[in-house]
Each structure stands twice: as C-alpha cells, then as structure tokens.
C-alpha cells in the first residue's frame, strides 16, 4: 500500500463474499443478502505475519477462506503471487492449495477420526505427488511431525488419542506438508487451553522464521495478535477499516472502532490497568444483511458527524507510521458518496451534535 518496497504475496481488491438469504419452504426465494465480506482491499507481504482482528461475525474467517478460494468470492479479485485466484482452473487451483495452507480453529473437528496421524499428514503429499514412494513419504511424515514438535512414533495413532494441543500440531504439520509459502491460521489457538495457546503460538512463530512463511493470523484475541504480528488489519462488518504496523496500530489507533477494541484489552501492569479507560460502544453490531449506509461503523461510533452516513470512507494514510491507513472521515472526508436513504439501512446515526 505505501512506503514498504516489500513484495506483495497475496492481494485482495474489492473482495466481496455475499451469501443469499433464502426463505424456508419449497420455493427458496432469495429474500436478502448477507454481506460477510463487503469490499475488502488488503495486501499481505511476503514473509510477514499479518494479524486480522475483529469481533465475532465480522467476516474474518470468510475473508481468510475467500483468499484461498475455499469460499467462492462473489465480487472483486484475489491475486496470489501475481496469479488471479478467482479465475484459476483446476490445475492452477491445486497448485494454489499446495502453496497456501490453512490451520483451522477446532483441532477436535479438523482431523478425520478414521485416519491415522500419518495418513492425515501424508494427504497433501499424495494429492500433489510429493516424495513418491512409501518409504520417502513415511520419512517426510516423520520429518514433519518432528518439525511441529511431535514424537514421530505417534504416526500410526488416531486423533482421539491426542490432546487438543497435539492435534493442532498435527493440523499444522498437514498444512506444512506441501511446503507452502502462505499459511492462514483461522483462530488457530482459540479453542486451546491458555497454557497450550502460548506453545502453539510460539511454534507458529518459530516455523514462520524457520521456513520463511507468510502468515495471515486471524484471531479475536488482540494480545495474541499483537504478540505475533508484524502488521495488524482490523475488520468491522465485512470491511477492513484500519491497517498498519502492529506497533503503530496498537499505540496510536486512528479509527474509533480500533480504539474501542484496544481499550477492551486488559493491561498486564496493575497501575496502567487501573487507569485504563474503556470505550464501551453503544448497541450491537448491525446485521451483515443490513449494513448501514456510508461508514458502516457510524451507528456505534462515538465520534460520528455529518459526512458519515453519506460517504463510504476509503482507506487513507493516517498517523505518523508509514503504511498506516484507516477508513475514517475524522482524517478527512475521502470515499464514495452514497445515497443516504438506503431502504435496507437504518438512517438514524445518532445526534450529529454529539461530535466531540
């Protein structure tokens, strides 16, 4: 986006994933559209860890899935290493699946209970014809298990014999088997015990350095994201609303939503924690099937003012750090004017005089 001359590995432009909402009954008429991802621009640089945060239901996971075309995008483009992901044919898509892996949230659900650890980890090798031959594959599986800190002797065991942390390591080994460049970690530590979370987090960091991986780390856990990320992207209601270097986003958030999100994180130092000012947002997140006009955060924003319902804010450079961008009119009204009276959007944005 700005400043850094780093190479872009994954790039989304205007990415949309809309799901039709169908009524029940035999006719299955489409009665609405759920805008899970609604016009996302995002670049992931080669070799970095990009943290993607946002509250539940904001479209983080859908975005991660759409980048790998595990969910088909309904609009916009995704480029992986220069190649257009949305237009890929069968063969190219398979190569993408080798080069881009995914680690899933629930390690109890993401491993096939009827297949041994070795079979699970070897699946990418079989699919892509890597390390052909029984012995070579077995050797590679052992190597992968060691890489993620598991005893290679467990290869013949079934997932139900393992703990959550161990299973997640198996999941990571599977994701790494094809020697990918890019790994999407979709809430990869969210369902683990806290003590195990740190282990898996550190494992991911080690693997990233060791293998030169590019990581998209999706999480609602801001502390974890700050711990592992080079840059942080904040998502709200299907849109990326702020992106920047991790330190800059954490220290000087430029968008009211990011500020509110950060203010909810407890601080380790007791004195700082006591003086921590929480910004409590009003109301609930609007439904992604009824996205407010203009700035989608305006219905809850403490700083809402005149242009918010009328102009859909674009990401613009903010703050002092290079590469720090946010979509907020407080930094100058930039964006696409929209019709205020959208029938599917609540008009009332709160009292404009409430501007601080």
């Amino acid at each position: 986006m700005t400043s850094t001359t780093q190479e872009v590995l994954v790039s989304a432009r205007g990415l949309e994933v809309h799901f039709p909402i169908r009524s029940g009954g035999a006719l299955r008429r489409t009665t609405g559209v759920l805008r899970a991802v609604d016009g996302v621009d995002l670049d992931v640089y080669r070799g970095e860890t990009l943290g993607l945060v946002g509250e539940s239901g904001c479209g983080k996971s859908t975005l991660g899935n759409a980048l790998l075309r595990l969910v088909p995008p309904t609009g916009g483009t995704v480029a992986f290493d220069g190649a257009d992901v949305t237009g890929m044919g069968r063969r190219e898509l398979r190569e993408l699946r080798r080069r881009a892996g995914m680690v899933f949230q629930d390690p109890f659900a993401s491993l096939d209970p009827r297949r041994t650890v070795a079979q699970t980890v070897a699946e990418p090798l079989e699919v892509h014809g890597l390390h052909p031959g029984r012995q070579a594959r077995a050797a590679r599986v052992r190597e992968l298990l060691q890489l993620v800190g598991l005893d290679p002797g467990v290869a013949a065991r079934y997932p139900h014999e393992f703990s959550g942390g161990q299973r997640q390591r198996v999941g990571i080994a599977r994701a790494l088997a094809g020697e990918p460049d890019f790994l999407v970690c979709d809430e990869a530590i969210a369902s683990l015990d806290v003590s195990v979370q740190a282990q898996v987090l550190n494992l991911l960091r080690r693997l990233q350095r060791q293998l030169g991986l590019t990581l998209l780390f999706i999480s609602h856990d801001l502390s974890a994201v700050r711990h592992v990320s080079d840059r942080i992207a904040v998502m709200y209601l299907g849109r990326v609303v702020e992106v920047g270097p991790a330190a800059a986003v954490a220290a000087e958030p430029q968008m009211p939503y990011t500020r509110a999100l950060l203010s909810a994180v407890p601080l380790p130092h007791p004195r700082l924690e006591r003086s921590r000012q929480r910004i409590v947002l009003r109301g609930d997140v609007p439904s992604p099937s009824r996205v407010p006009s203009g700035c989608r955060f305006r219905t809850r924003c403490p700083d809402v003012f005149e242009p918010c319902p009328d102009v859909d804010p674009a990401l613009q450079p903010v703050g002092s750090a290079p590469g720090h961008v946010a979509a907020c009119h407080l930094h100058g009204v930039v964006g696409t004017p929209v019709e205020r009276e959208r029938p599917d959007a609540p008009v009332d944005a709160g009292d404009p005089a409430a501007r601080r």
């Binding site: 699946r97 659900a109 699946e123 015990d193």
Partner: protein, 312 residues
C-alpha cells in the same frame, strides 16, 4: 447432526508437558468394533447363528440328508420322526433337507438384492448428499416416487413385468430397497460433508473423488452398515413373500417361501410342513434384525464410548 464422530474425544486439559498418547498399540477400528460387538450378547449370538445359517446354505448339498426332490410315495405327510426330524411333505420329500436346501435360495436372493440396493442406493445418496442442489433434488424426487409404492406391490409389479424367477426377484427386491439406502446415505453424508476435516482436506487440494472415497464415505458408513443388516432381514422376508405368491423361484426347487405356500394347503393335517420353513424364516430375520440393533449400538460413537468403559 454434526456431532463429533470420535469416541472418547474428551477435551481434557493436558498438562504443559504433554505425554505421548496411551501406551496401548493402536487397534484398527474394525477390530475394536468386532470386540465391542462380541461383548453384546444378543448381537454376538445373532451373528453366530447367522454364520451357521450361511454355512448351512453354502454346504447344503453335503448337509442335507436327502436330495431336494427325492420322493417316496409311501412316506407322504409323515410327522417328525427319527429318520425325518422335520417330517415329510405330500410327495414324501424330507422337509429338513428342503429347509436346508431352501436356505441357499432364500439367502442368495436376500444377499444379492441387498447388495444391489446397497451399491445403487449408496451411490445415489452419496451424490445427492455431497453435491446437493439440483442433483439432490432430481435424485431424491426419483427416490420419493419409488418410495410412494408399497414395497411388496412394487416388487410384484416388477416381477409381473419381467416375469417370475430368482433373477427378477433379486432385481425387484433390490429396487424396492434402493430408496432406503439412498435416504440413509444422504442423511449421513449431509452431516459429514460439513465436517471441518472435509474442508481441511479440500484446503490441501484433495479432489471431490478423494474427499468422497477417503473421508465422506468412511465416516458416513455406520448407519449404512446398520441399514444393510436390517434390510437383509426384510429382503429374506420379501423373498419369502414373493415365493409364497409364486413370483420367486420356481417349483420344484425348494425355497422357504415356496414351502410355506405349499404347506398352507395341509396346515390342518401336517403342521410341520409350514412350521419348520416358517421357523427358518423367523430365526434368520430375527437374527439380522438383532445384529442390526447391535451394530447400531456399537457404531454410534456416543454409545460406543459408554460401552468401552468411557476411558478410551
């Protein structure tokens, strides 16, 4: 619907230094299933009886004291005795021999028709459940049409069109049971299809074929296996019904249903004529049903955990 299909998947908090998993050597799943089945007395006895019946059908020529059609006019409708434990029929044929020899016919028709229904029905259910949308709609509406006919009526119609005989009886009974397998498979596949491990395999590049054969089908199999056992019971019964109506195997070759039909005329003079082939049907059908129930208990993961003592 998307329950964890793992037995003993206790999300217990592991200590930071996680020990390697249990010391017991990993047992293949089918061995575990068999072991649990053996501990369910009803199912185990049923399985043993069924094995004996199948063996009887396989070695019928050796086991039967007499040939199927050896007549002895001097021994018409004799009650059970030492030389003819099940008595004789109106032609003086040994009923024990005919029950033994009839097992082959009944079971052959039963197994073949269920095999047909299993293969076709599972394939249809798999395609409908996995691909969904119009594939699902088209296939399942077709199944609904088949389902709308009473089973025996449909079988009779098919036999009436194609003519009587064992091959057509197999086809008829098979077609009748296709929709049941299609539905059971589809329901099971719908649950498994949404499992994260299926998505995970897709994310590493597995093809649809691979997903279906390596992940979806094995995990969707338990209800299909149970249905197979229960359908065998009904297929044996259906074969008897078709034979009884004269639409199955032709006389004079023995079949249980055929013997029931023939014995009906002498029921007031020779109870043994109908009771012994009838008993053979009852025992076989009952055993398939009980085995099916036992399999259901064992293959249901939650039941399975309970029975294994919770620890595994």
């Amino acid at each position: 619907m998307t329950q964890l299909p793992t037995p003993g998947a206790t999300p217990a908090a592991p200590p930071p230094s996680e020990p390697p998993p249990t010391a017991a050597p990993p047992r293949p799943r089918w061995r575990e299933t068999l072991g649990l089945l053996a501990r369910n007395p009803t199912a185990a006895v049923s399985a043993v009886v069924l094995v004996l019946i199948v063996l009887m059908a396989v070695f019928d020529e050796t086991l039967a004291p007499d040939g199927p059609n050896e007549q002895d006019p001097s021994l018409q409708l004799q009650p059970p005795s030492r030389s003819h434990p099940f008595g004789t029929d109106e032609f003086g044929r040994d009923i024990l021999s005919r029950v033994v020899l009839g097992a082959a016919t009944s079971l052959r028709v039963g197994f073949a028709s269920v095999a047909f229904a299993l293969v076709v029905g599972t394939l249809i259910g798999l395609l409908a459940g996995y691909y969904g949308r119009w594939v699902d709609d088209a296939l399942m509406r077709l199944m609904d049409v088949l389902f709308a006919f009473p089973a025996v009526l449909l079988a009779i119609a098919i036999v009436a069109i194609r003519g009587a005989g064992p091959a057509n009886a197999i086809l008829a009974i098979g077609i009748v049971y296709v929709p049941i397998f299609a539905r059971v498979t589809r329901a099971s596949v719908l649950g498994v299809r949404e499992e994260v491990y299926v998505r995970a395999s897709r994310s590493v590049g597995a093809s649809d074929w691979r997903l279906i054969t390596r992940h979806v089908l094995p995990n969707a199999a338990p209800p299909i296996i149970v249905q197979t056992s229960i359908s065998l019971a009904f297929a044996v019964l259906a074969e008897a019904a078709l034979s009884f109506l004269g639409l199955g195997p032709r006389r004079p070759n023995p079949s249980w249903g055929l013997m029931l039909a023939d014995g009906r005329g002498f029921i007031d003079q020779a109870w043994w004529y109908t009771v012994f082939p009838g008993l053979a049907i009852v025992v076989t059908v009952l055993c398939f049903n009980l085995l099916g129930d036992g399999l259901r208990d064992v293959l249901d993961p939650r039941q399975r955990t309970l029975m294994a003592g919770g620890g595994r």
